[in-house]
Amino acid sequence: MITLNWVLIFSAALFSIGLFGVLARRNAVAILMGIELMLNAVNVNLVGFWRFSNPAVITGQAFAVIVFAVAAAEVAVGLALVISIYRRRKTIAADDIDLMKW
């Protein structure tokens, strides 16, 4: 029997992998993919909580649907920014984009 614990562990693992990708990758597109993975982990959480608490309350699923929409919008804007920076710099490596020092 699947329990909530396993679902949460699964989602935490996905989230950690995504976070690691965001922090450690150089390629801006790969960083964006890491963010997508993190948002997916959130959705796994939400669907899991919906299933294992009171399934009659569909809040978890509604939340997940909203996260879908936000993720789609975010990716569109993020990739547009990547394209616009590529046009100027001819690179999308995150550490080459350092005209201003951190």
């Binding site: 029997m1 396993w6 562990i9 992998i17 150089r26 789609a72 616009s84």
Partner: protein, 172 residues
């Protein structure tokens, strides 16, 4: 019920391996394809939990729309090669520490959690289906639902503003 458990663990394994594949792969296109696989696995996982609508949305929105967008951009930019060093030097330790903290927290949740865990109840027919979700979204969550339309409009405007090339005098 063991088949369900086996299914769950194999899905989780695939999802984590593809996630790691995304981390390691040097070629952005491979990374994107790993991510597609990952999204599909998670969709099947949603089906396993009984969220049919969410599973469909996962396939069409994530694996469909979002990943196609990713692949398009990678190909347009020709940016699939990542160069010799794959990661930023100082960020790696930070990333490892953060990720480990998260995993420890997850372990804590598993082994020492005090809150009661309810077993999954059996779902009545048609539960979590499009009809019930649509009902909730257009009743309780009407306002957020409408606001997502603003968000998508903003994304559209943004994509056009940021990527539309302006005609300069030379080009005209």
């Amino acid at each position: 019920m063991t088949t369900e458990l086996i299914l769950f663990f194999s899905l989780a394994l695939i999802a984590i391996i593809t996630g790691l594949g995304l981390l390691i792969s040097k070629n952005a296109i491979y990374a994107a394809l790993y991510l597609v696989l990952n999204f599909f696995t998670i969709a099947i996982f949603y089906l396993l939990l009984g969220g049919a609508f969410i599973a469909m949305a996962q396939v069409s929105v994530y694996a469909g729309a979002i990943m196609v967008l990713f692949l398009f951009v990678i190909m347009i930019l020709g940016a699939e090669k990542l160069g010799k060093s794959n990661t930023v030097a100082w960020q790696r330790p930070v990333a490892i520490i953060l990720s480990i903290i998260l995993l420890i927290e997850a372990g804590y949740v598993l082994f020492w959690r005090t809150a009661p865990v309810q077993a999954a109840q059996t779902l009545p027919d048609g539960f979590g289906g499009p009809a019930s979700i649509g009902n909730v979204l257009l009743n309780n969550y009407l306002l957020p639902f409408e606001i997502t339309s603003v968000l998508l409009l903003v994304a559209m405007i943004g994509a056009i503003v940021l990527t539309h090339k302006q005609k300069t005098d030379k080009e005209v």
